[in-house]
């Protein structure tokens, strides 16, 4: 069996400890700390918190033609993707120090490789850290945190938190900063895993989310990012209407996404399912591939090819996942795997 033959990476974190283990250690080190309000069970902070990103529209440079247009795409006859990559994150309050939350974050990522229409694990990674506002804590608390068997991330100085801005003492601000940091860690383990794939394999990899966060991945032809969330839309005005007006099996023209901190990528919107009677985002994904500076014809050919691969993944459905209109089954399988090893 393929699943049994792939190498599994060792867990990355030096001290994998469950949140309950950490709570026990903390109680032993600081009996007065108490665990009131800590959430080791129930929904994670990601589930219970509202989205952190504000919705926004960004214009992008169209590199296929002069303006954003809808184009019909034929699904690929044979599946193009050989593997799927997805990651998860889970944040929970470990304890409160001086009323400020200490947050346990766990991130994981997996690549599931497809062989004979069945998915098996290629490699996976699990890491966990404790996110704390160290600058706002007493020396005693900091000493206690240092004694815990887990890496500590100071959310008050973490570059990912709050975009580098100072974090206030408001517990919600600390919580949001921690979630940002956890999210950044998740992206990091995803990128690292994707890079390993790009180093070792030449077959196309379906990445859940964007690929521009990793220069190595964003420049590799065999990595395809598929974004399901659209808090940021790369279209404005008429272009936005083109995006919303996409019918099932249609894509937009290719445009370039650039960012000071990220590698430029070529991207386009693709409608996976018939949106009739649904919201405008129904079945809408945004695809990212390497911006290789090819000719327009080559960009078109490549966008049609990759779109065909993505459309070929619409079956089987990712139900019962609520995002099944945009999620392909391979990504759901990754999530199931990560849920199983949680």
């Amino acid at each position: 069996m393929l699943a049994m033959s792939v190498t599994r990476a060792a867990l990355e974190s030096p001290g994998i400890s469950s949140i309950r283990t950490l709570q026990r250690q903390l109680s032993a080190l600081m009996p007065s700390a108490g665990l009131a309000g800590a959430l080791s069970d129930g929904p994670s902070l990601e589930v219970s918190s509202s989205p952190l990103d504000l919705p926004r529209l960004i214009s992008a440079v169209v590199i296929e033609g002069n303006a954003l247009r809808a184009r019909k795409v034929e699904p690929a006859i044979a599946p193009g993707f050989s593997a799927f990559l997805d990651g998860t994150q889970e944040s929970r309050v470990l304890s409160y120090a001086h009323g400020m939350p200490l947050i346990h974050g766990k991130v994981a990522a997996v690549i599931r490789i497809r062989s004979d229409r069945r998915l098996a694990t290629w490699r996976h990674t699990v890491a966990q850290r404790l996110y704390a506002p160290r600058r706002l804590l007493s020396a005693q608390w900091n000493a206690t945190l240092d004694a815990l068997a887990i890496d500590i991330v100071d959310v008050t100085s973490a570059p990912d938190a709050q975009g580098g801005a100072a974090v206030s003492e408001h517990p919600f601000a600390i919580r949001d900063a921690a979630i940002h940091s956890v999210q950044a860690d998740r992206e990091r383990v995803e990128h690292r895993l994707a890079e390993k794939w790009c180093d070792a394999e030449h077959e196309p990899l379906f990445v859940d989310g964007g690929i521009s966060g990793s220069d190595r991945v964003a420049r590799t032809a065999n990595a395809v990012g598929v974004v399901k969330t659209h808090r940021t839309l790369y279209a404005e005005g008429d272009s936005l209407q083109v995006v919303f007006g996409l019918r099932e099996g249609e894509r937009t023209s290719v445009f370039r996404i650039t960012s000071p901190k990220r590698t430029s990528v070529a991207s386009w919107y693709l409608r996976l399912r018939d949106p009739s009677g649904r919201d405008p985002m129904w079945g809408l994904v945004r695809v990212e591939i390497a911006d290789s500076g090819d000719t327009e014809a080559e960009i078109r050919r490549r966008a049609d090819e990759v779109s065909g691969w993505v459309l070929a993944e619409v079956s089987p459905l990712a139900l019962p996942d609520g995002r099944w209109d945009k999620m392909v089954y391979g990504i759901r399988d990754c999530e199931e795997f990560l849920r199983a090893i949680r």
């Binding site: 069996m1 599946p79 993707f81 079956s315 089987p316 139900l319 199931e336």
Partner: protein, 653 residues
């Protein structure tokens, strides 16, 4: 299919709160292409030692589950737009699981008995099978009491399965019952195979063993001594089990005559096979002991019973006289003698105007006369008027010999009589330890007819119950078969230490007796191939599926075609055939010359006596049984003088 590396794990134990493991059941998953199926024996290796020992748990798969991550079937319909064909075009197949439930066969260490731990699951190998089924306790080199019953096969494992002779033939437990639908020849084949295995492997230290088989239908058991070709696959099983692939070496057949009194009433009547066929005939004395079998309760009330007792104790084989009957002395030895005795008693009562005689009312005497006289008619061919007896060799039974009694063509009453008397005699001799062997296996097919769960209490059923409950102490073992186990008396099947199941009818499987089996096991039972059995044995905590070979014995149907039944022949030819089994030089011409114009009864009596005595000089003995005939004398007719007519009287006045 995955190549099974027997040393690598094929599954992992799983347990959830909703589906926990217990000391008697556990669950495990396998790869999709694993060779596990219902009936597969597996071994679990625990991860944590208990009392310093890593637990080893053996189980047999009793249920299987398969499912995907679909939440509802509707999702799949939606995913393929209602077109089932498009499912095969999908780039990815849904995640799927093969989940099995296994019933625990054995835990090592046995104490403390704990729920099955998480661990790796391995396919049981030969040695594992022996441990799992506790066979390691009785198949030890040098002191084995194992009787091979077939092989267990799964994923490359090919292990012989042994029953414990102490629990099959006694004294610990005994008896074997086999059930299954008719028409597959599984039941008969299985019994033939097991008898062969017992004759080969029954331990010498446990003594001798013979089998008495009642052939109750068709030619099933009529050719046990004739070989048949078997396939290579069957030969492998014979070799694995160490049983020679051949027919029984010693078989003796017994069959009553037809109503004509001289043709054997069996499908094994072909002249080429008569060398080991003996007639089975009984006289008045033998039958009267079992009058209860033939006479129902309406026939035999207390008064009639008393008269029958009187006849049995005071009349039959006694020198009997009575003042009412004058000076005549009676020695009643046959039904004919008894009829004469009844006739004289009744006419004497009539003559004297008596209503009763020796406390017996005339109506009772008439009734008993009627019923007893009727027996020789109902059991014609078996019961002889002249009292001739030809019986099984009680007292000189031979080790490893099969005695087949063909009752297939007999009336039910005659079948019951034979069954009751033979089994009773076997029991009597075993009690006295003078049967000739230490153990006798009695094979009865159609048990639901002889020991039904409902219906009136019969002598045969009572006797079967007694045999099932007490026979093992004597060495009298019941091997029984039937189509519907649920229709057999519970105490008979319940006392069978070993139970075999061939392919079963779905209706039968729906009866409460099979409630302990999982739906999957029932499904497997309903579709078992010929040559497969499910076995329950006291040492096996769960039923096990085994394969047994086709017996290397000519099938009844083949035998009947190859050795067709003898056509009805006249008395002279029948006598010739009978006597030729003792002296092959005897010809039809000699017999015709010998018997001349004697009546049938006399010829049959002479034939029976010859067969019974088996003399060295058959011709001389047979002739001696016939009444001498007066030599033919030519008597010269006296020449009468011819009177001449008087001259004066031309008319001779």
């Amino acid at each position: 299919m995955t190549t099974t590396n027997q040393s690598s794990a094929l599954g992992r134990v799983v347990a959830t709160e909703r589906k926990p493991n217990t000391p008697h059941e556990f669950h495990f998953w396998t790869a999709l292409d694993s060779p596990v199926g219902i009936g597969t024996i597996v071994r679990v290796e625990g991860a944590h030692p208990v009392n310093g020992q890593i637990p080893q748990i053996y189980g047999v798969v009793v249920e299987g589950f398969s499912y995907t991550d679909l939440q509802t079937p509707l999702h799949d319909v939606m995913g393929h737009d209602g077109a089932p064909g498009s499912a095969s075009l999908a780039a990815t197949e849904r995640a799927e699981i093969r989940l099995y439930s296994a019933a625990v066969l054995r835990q090592i260490p046995e104490e403390p008995m704990q729920p099955v731990p998480m661990g790796q699951v391995f396919l049981a190998q030969d040695a594992d099978v022996a441990v799992a089924l506790r066979m390691d306790g009785y198949i030890k080199e040098g002191s084995s009491t194992g009787i091979p019953i077939g092989v267990y096969r799964a994923g490359g494992t090919d292990a012989a399965i042994y029953l414990d002779a102490d629990f099959l033939i006694g004294p610990e437990a005994a008896h074997l019952n086999i059930t299954g639908v008719s028409g597959l020849a599984t039941k008969t084949s299985a019994i033939e195979w097991i008898l062969g295995s017992i004759f080969t492997h029954f331990p010498e230290q446990k003594g001798s063993v013979a089998a008495v088989c009642f052939n109750v239908k068709g030619p099933d058991l009529c050719f046990l001594d004739l070989p048949a070709d078997i396939g290579a696959a069957d030969k492998v099983i014979y070799d694995k089990c160490g049983v020679p692939a051949g027919p029984f070496e010693n078989v003796q057949y017994f069959a009553p005559y037809k109503s004509d009194g001289f043709s054997l009433n069996t499908l094994r009547s072909n002249e080429a096979l008569l060398h080991n066929v003996s007639p089975l005939t009984w006289g008045l004395r033998e039958v009267l002991q079992y009058a209860e079998v033939l006479l129902n309760k309406d026939d035999v009330d207390a008064k009639a019973d008393a008269l029958i007792d009187f006849i049995r104790e005071r009349v039959v084989d006694r020198d009997f006289s009575d003042p009412m009957l004058g000076n005549k002395r009676y020695v009643v030895r046959s039904f004919a003698d008894l009829e004469g005795w009844f006739r004289d008693v009744l006419s004497a009562m009539e003559n004297k105007g008596n209503e009763g005689w020796r406390t017996h009312h005339v109506a009772t005497i008439r009734k008993v006369r009627n019923r007893l006289s009727n027996i020789s008619t109902r059991c014609a061919g078996l019961v002889t008027d002249d009292g001739a007896v030809s019986d099984l060799p009680f007292g000189s039974f031979q080790d490893r010999t099969v005695y087949v009694i063909d009752v297939a063509s007999l009336e039910e009453a005659a079948q019951d009589l034979i069954f009751a008397r033979v089994v009773t005699r076997l029991r009597e001799h075993l009690e006295k330890r003078d049967l000739g062997v230490n153990h006798v296996i009695v094979f009865v097919d159609e048990l639901n007819k002889y020991a039904p769960n409902d219906g009136p209490e019969t002598y045969v059923r009572k006797m079967l119950l007694d045999l099932a409950e007490r026979g093992r102490y004597l060495g009298l073992v019941l091997f029984s078969a039937q189509q519907f186990r649920s229709q057999v008396h519970r105490r008979v099947v319940g006392n069978s230490g070993t139970a075999l199941y061939g392919r079963m009818d779905a209706d039968e499987l729906a009866t409460p007796g099979y409630a302990v089996l999982s739906p999957a096991v029932k499904t497997k039972l309903a579709s078992l191939e010929k040559g497969q059995l499910m076995v329950r044995h006291p040492h096996f905590t769960q039923p096990i599926f085994v394969r047994f070979p086709r017996p290397a014995i000519m099938r009844g149907r083949d035998g009947a075609e190859r050795y067709p039944q003898a056509v009805d022949i006249n008395l002279d030819a029948a006598v010739t055939r009978s006597l030729r089994t003792l002296d092959s030089s005897i010809t039809l011409g000699w017999v015709q010359d010998a018997v001349g114009i004697r009546d049938e009864d006399e010829i049959i009596k002479a034939r029976n006596a010859t067969l019974r005595e088996r003399p060295a000089d058959v011709r001389k003995f047979f002739l001696a049984q016939l009444r001498p005939t007066v030599a033919t004398q030519v008597v010269a007719r006296p020449a009468a003088a011819v009177r001449s007519a008087p001259a004066d009287d031309p008319y001779g006045f």
